[in-house]
Symmetry: C2
Subunit: 192 residues, 2 copies
DNA sequence: CAATTTATATGCGCCAGTCATATATATGAC
DNA sequence: GTCATATATATGACTGGCGCATATAAATTG
């Protein structure tokens, strides 16, 4: 029956279009917000986005190795070493020998580094707050569980958890049950 | 009454925490999605993210000048010129003299450039589709208007509209009433 | 205890992008 | 019409971030 085929095609066409639309919306919103965060952080005048990310990551997980940091930032070993070199020269980060692994160097923020990390987190929050305050209470209430789902499904292991939270204020997020950490724990429980 | 003060403080404290939480959620989700888009595009092996963005931008707005592109990518003039140099050398973009402005060079994709742009848009869609398919119909239905609001409030003029949509498949988005374009038009109507 | 893996470090080099500057066209004042 | 200024593109010189290859030291495994 040709009329049914036509109808099906129309439905299919319409659904595809709707899919395209929500995909475009999500992608555009994500890059827009991510860019505004980067812009806010960029205004602080740090050497690079990775430098800022490293500071926040070290703040959230002090005494972790350069190699752990490298994974979060998706850098090569040497790239991470250079980055730490410069942060150390700027007096923001301290290298220490690990007392559990003689090869590893673990990282800690200096007092200045702590301050910088707070400022970076504040800049990031400014970007999102400008958006959140334009949403209604209902929109925020509805958005929250969806964002939790998105973060849960994009977290497959401890490594992706670290990456997804790499700019987070984890001290504010953790006690409220960060969906990323929960998802990472669930994956660990289920095994690799 | 001290008990009231304490109660108020508690409310305040709790609200602040909740604000921190939604801010962290939104920021983390945005950077996570944006990173996955970048990773998907990065896998294509193009010279840089900006090269990919330029191709999609030129696809969506052919015969625009190098200077217009520069604004979308937040590059200096010379940076944009070098970028176009390399894309032209790779046979993806063509320079033409503008016939309305003797100074301007307008850009157009070659056939290969068109193909590349489609592939880039496909890579971006892969990233978001992997996330959207993990959401329920209700979640998607609720998310849509919130994303539209977010894009509307982050679009202040034509320039931010271009930036926010810089990786969009505008041919799919435009007929469905892209909130970014609508917001840009409204701002233009109200004047600068 | 030898062989392999893992963590950090360094020399070398690339490439994206900026700054300063040059040139051409357009626009506005008079 | 012409002169001053603004705008668009182009190029030389340079830098910073980062990768690749390699070296060394410590840990692990057999």
């Amino acid at each position: 029956m040709p009329s049914i085929d036509l109808y099906d095609s129309l439905i299919y066409f319409t659904l595809m279009k709707k899919d395209d639309y929500i995909n475009n919306l999500l992608a555009a919103a994500a890059t827009t917000i991510a860019t505004q965060i980067e812009d806010q952080i960029g205004d602080l005048g740090l050497p690079s986005t990775n430098a800022a990310t490293a500071l926040v990551t070290i703040r959230n997980h002090p005494d972790d190795s350069i190699d752990a940091l490298r994974r979060v930032l998706s850098l090569t070993h040497s790239g991470a070493v250079r980055l730490i070199d410069s942060l150390e020269q700027d007096g923001l980060v301290e290298r220490r020998r690990s007392d559990t692994d003689g090869r590893a160097v673990v990282l800690r923020l200096t007092a200045n580094g702590q301050d910088s990390a707070e400022v970076i987190i504040g800049a990031r929050e400014r970007a999102t707050r400008a958006i959140v305050k334009r949403l209604s209470k209902q929109q925020i209430a509805g958005l929250k569980p969806v964002l939790e789902t998105i973060l849960a499904v994009t977290t497959k292991d401890e490594e992706s958890a670290r990456r997804n939270c790499r700019l987070c204020d984890e001290s504010a997020c953790r006690p409220l049950g960060c969906p990323v950490e929960i998802s990472a724990q669930e994956h660990r429980a289920k095994g690799p």
